[in-house]
């Protein structure tokens, strides 16, 4: 199930509606960028979609959802906890198996951070923490990626490299991005959110930066 209809999405905070009612159809292979100014409801929409697909997706929430006391390895490994029996996961907490160690090591290598494999994520910088959450999503390897500003703390070259990995790693993705250039470069479809509604829904090739800027 990678193509799905999202209809009648709504969300309210303290009685005030912030999203919808909003309908969106996502097709297999869509690489959707959610754009819009902050407060437009992008994060809420990502969260709603995550619930709607029964959490069956690789998620990178804005606050990353890392367990600060655990090492980089364990945080990444958490992406596949459902693949192993409880005893296996418990042993891994104390002493990871070399197969998993190698896999995670290779994955982190592609994201340019291997020397920190056993550091608790609490002591990492913002950009490093973000890459741990990205590695967890890649390791999870679900059919759909849901990401909320996944490269906000990364510098230009690193942001581009990570976006390439995310584009190649998932057939279908929905990524909230405030960087319009990145959205046009790495996504096939741009969905603009304004006041909790879809204000724009076009293939990337039909759009230029200035078309999108009208949303801001």
């Amino acid at each position: 199930m990678t193509s799905f209809d999202l209809s009648g999405l709504t969300a309210s905070f303290s009685g005030k509606r912030v999203i919808g009612p909003l309908s969106l159809r996502i097709n297999t292979g869509d690489k959707v960028a959610l754009v819009g100014k902050s407060g437009a409801g992008k994060s809420t929409l990502i969260r709603l979609i995550h619930e709607r697909v029964n959490r069956d997706s690789s998620l990178i929430p804005q606050d990353l959802g890392l367990v600060n006391a655990l090492s980089v390895f364990h945080n990444v490994f958490m992406g596949q906890l459902d693949k192993h029996p409880t005893w296996y996961n418990t042993v891994t907490l104390a002493r990871p198996f070399s197969k998993d160690r190698n896999e995670v090591h290779t994955l982190l290598n592609t994201l340019g951070m291997t020397e920190k494999l056993w550091t608790p994520t609490a002591s990492l910088s913002g950009g490093q923490r973000q890459r741990v959450a990205i590695a967890r999503a890649l390791y999870r390897n679900a059919a759909v990626l849901l990401a909320d500003e996944p490269v906000s703390a990364l510098d230009g070259p690193m942001a581009n490299s990570v976006m390439t990995h995310l584009r190649d790693g998932f057939s279908t993705s929905i990524i909230a991005l405030h960087d319009v250039e990145l959205a046009l470069r790495y996504c096939t479809r741009i969905v603009g959110i304004q006041g909790g509604q879809v204000a724009l829904d076009q293939p990337s090739e039909n759009l230029t930066t200035s078309d999108i800027m009208s949303l801001y």
């Binding site: 929430p61 192993h84 418990t90």
Partner: protein
């Protein structure tokens, strides 16, 4: 100033305590109290560590009971914390922690006798109730986001081990280690009801006027608690926990007939036991309420309120002792020693000593409770002032105390004080065993007269009173938006 709700609340409590003083029995009844006090201090300065071989055994037993009791309590408490959302579990935990360790010991003594199990359970049961509450609060505070990100289909145990425990492990460990220190104090006072820990030897030395022996015991106890960071190491902990059961001593064997008799006969209310039926129950209960419960409740409340305010005043006076806003390092180190002694001495031992010296009245109890609790709160508040950065031209001396520091720490001071309200009441009730007419006195007399049915009802009343005060304390803390970490 009176427009502030915290100040108003403080003065209301001050007024209640002053009215309480009119009714309280405050007196020094001993014939030469100051000479006794002098002898006692002389004993502390000239400790005798070698008078009896029992001293080291008592110390060992104290540590062993603390380790076994706290370990069992924390395991049971952790399991209870996992199901703490259920109301019956919460009520059960509130109930078992509302009954003081010494009351539990008095109950178990009646049927297990002087078996080590009595001491272990007396610590483990109330501690399980406290651990359950605090652990569940710690688990509640865990960041929920990592749990949400987990792939669906992740097992419950795996999710718990990865997304919940690591985030709060340090807090759980810190709190458990802290509770171990409380456990050492609990273990020490269990000696006062006859278990082979420090309290037993302290009582024996005191009753023979061997102040140097008593002094040696107290000094060793302080050293034991002050050096805990040195000998309680995470790596050694399994060794201690597994080894401790072998150092509890033999005690006396359990007579199972006693256990059966206790539950089927002793605690059954007398009229029912004697076949008078429910009709006999009313006069029995009336007599119990009028002659024991009501005076016990009244004295417990009066003493609690006075001790609460005295603790508050003392902690406000004591915190500058360790605050780095005043004086030099020498004075501050001396202040630390004073506060460590005040807070590591169990209030029961302080009250016992003062009672021996001044004779029976509420005074020794008030002073003991104020010293112990004032020491704890003064320490916490003083430490808090050390993290305050004042502007460079802030006033100094008393102006700094009254204008800069007290207003800044007053809310957390009140939070700690109201948190300890229930603890002070629990201790007040238990001090009755020493001969002050609080609920513990009536419980103890009922047990002496082999009227366990009455003792059980009185313990039940004590528990309900504690739960009531805890509820009011929490209500006030919520009303005034005061937050605090648990203390014991």
């Amino acid at each position: 100033m009176f427009s502030s709700p915290t100040v108003r609340t403080s003065f209301i409590f001050l007024a209640i305590a002053l009215v309480g003083l009119l009714f309280a029995d405050i007196a020094i009844t001993a014939s030469n109290p100051w000479q006794d006090l002098g002898n006692f201090f002389l004993g502390i300065i000239t400790p005798n560590f070698f008078s009896s071989e029992g001293l080291m055994t008592a110390l060992l037993r104290t540590v062993a009971f603390a380790f076994v009791g706290v370990a069992l309590g924390s395991i049971a408490g952790f399991l209870l914390a996992l199901v703490y959302r259920s109301l019956p579990v919460r009520i059960f935990c509130a109930f078992i922690r509302a009954i003081h360790e010494l009351f539990w010991a008095l109950i178990f003594l009646q049927f297990f006798g002087f078996h080590p199990l009595t001491g272990v359970l007396a610590i483990a049961i109330p501690y399980a109730g406290i651990f359950a509450k605090v652990y569940s609060e710690i688990l509640e505070e865990v960041d929920p986001e990592p749990g949400r990100v987990l792939p669906p289909g992740t097992g419950n145990i795996t999710a718990f081990l990865y997304a919940r425990i690591p985030d709060c492990w340090v807090k759980i460990r810190t709190y458990t280690a802290y509770r171990l220190e409380c456990g050492l104090r609990s273990s020490a006072i269990l000696g006062f009801v006859g278990l082979p820990t420090l309290g037993f030897y302290l009582e024996a030395s005191f009753s023979q006027g061997l102040y140097s022996d008593a002094g040696a015991m107290l000094i060793l106890f302080y050293v034991l608690i002050a050096t805990m960071p040195l000998w309680v190491k995470p790596k050694l902990l399994p060794v201690y926990v597994l080894g401790a059961p072998f150092f509890l001593g033999e005690g006396l064997p359990i007579v199972w007939g006693n256990v059966q008799r206790f539950f089927t006969e002793d605690i059954v209310p007398a009229p029912l036991r004697n076949g008078e039926g429910l009709a006999g129950l009313t006069p029995w209960l009336n007599d119990l309420m009028i002659n024991q419960a009501v005076p016990g409740i009244w004295n417990t409340i009066v003493l609690t309120q006075i001790a609460l305010v005295a603790s508050g005043i003392l902690s406000l006076l004591a915190f500058p002792l360790i605050s780095n806003h005043f004086g030099g390092p020498l004075r501050r180190n001396a202040g630390h020693v004073v506060l460590v002694i005040a807070r590591s001495t169990p209030e029961y031992i302080l009250a016992y000593i003062l009672l021996q010296l001044w004779g029976p009245s509420m005074l020794p109890a008030v002073v003991a409770l104020a010293l112990h609790n004032g020491g704890i709160i003064g320490h916490l508040i003083g430490r808090q002032t050390n993290s305050l950065n004042l502007r460079a031209d802030a006033p100094t001396g008393f102006d700094r105390y009254s204008w800069e520091l007290v207003p800044r720490v007053y809310r957390s001071f009140l939070a700690f004080l109201f948190y300890r309200w229930e603890i002070i009441m629990r201790e007040t009730a238990i001090l009755g065993i020493l001969g002050i007419y609080t609920l513990g006195f009536y419980v103890d007399s009922a047990i002496q007269n082999i009227r366990f049915d009455r003792a059980m009802v009185l313990i039940l009343i004590t528990a309900l009173l504690n739960i009531g005060v805890d509820t009011i304390g929490r209500y006030i803390r919520r009303k005034l938006a005061l937050q605090t970490m648990p203390t014991c």
